[in-house]
């Protein structure tokens, strides 16, 4: 099956900082999603982004399908952005191992 790799594994930010999370996938995809898992374990769907760029508030995502990677941008980070960010490929959602983001006040 498809392999999904995320980097970096951990990220510590000062409140207000910007950051970029990366997701590489081993094969072409028909679906690419970004999720946020909050410290209580709830997974929230952030973006459906098999290609192109989308923005939602301080978050934006870009997928370059031909080069098999996707990026998630967090701007002006807040403590509520803390948690684990996952990308997942294809309709059955093959997840990467996640990037743990900690935003310090």
């Amino acid at each position: 099956g498809i392999q999904v790799e995320q980097s970096p594994p951990d990220l510590i930010l000062q409140e207000g900082a910007n950051s970029t999370l990366r997701c590489n996938f081993s094969d072409s995809v028909n679906n690419l999603q970004w999720f946020h898992q909050n410290p209580w374990g709830q997974l929230i769907n952030l973006f459906y982004i098999p290609s192109g760029t989308k923005q939602n508030g301080r978050l934006s995502a870009t997928t370059v399908a031909t080069e098999r990677y996707s990026l998630l941008y967090i701007s002006s980070s807040q403590t509520t952005d803390s948690g684990v960010y996952f990308c997942a490929a294809n309709y059955k959602l093959s997840f990467g191992a996640g990037t743990t983001v900690t935003v310090r006040a």
Partner: protein
């Protein structure tokens, strides 16, 4: 709109015992998924239902795990007998149809500890 409901929230059992988890998806969502999330890892698909039929159970350890979705609504996942390595969070998710642009809604999960 009510979310995906799961119960129990937590469960501790001894190895070789059996356990069952319940999931009620969002009303009208035909597709239901069960995932296993081991600490420090991303969720892994165990089984996908479309209405009350199984679409994919290739990663379900069928010697000990079983799942059903009667009447195409709520679903139960059972483990019998449990092993130590089954300790994980079991997440249920649903979608209107299995297409990414329709989104996925996850429940809060059941945290299973096998001792």
């Amino acid at each position: 709109e009510a979310g995906v409901a799961q119960s129990p929230r937590y469960k501790i059992i001894e190895k070789r015992q059996s356990v069952a988890f319940w999931c009620n998806p969002i009303s009208g969502h035909a597709t239901l998924y069960w995932y296993q999330q081991i600490l420090g890892q991303g969720p892994k698909l165990l089984i996908q239902f479309q209405n009350n039929g199984v679409v994919d159970d290739s990663q379900l350890p069928k010697d000990r795990f079983s799942a059903e979705r009667l009447k195409g609504v709520d679903s139960t996942l059972k483990i019998q007998p449990a092993k130590l390595e089954d300790s994980a969070v079991y997440l249920c998710a649903s979608s209107l149809i299995p297409r990414g642009d329709y989104g996925y809604t996850f429940g809060s999960g059941t945290r299973l500890t096998v001792v």
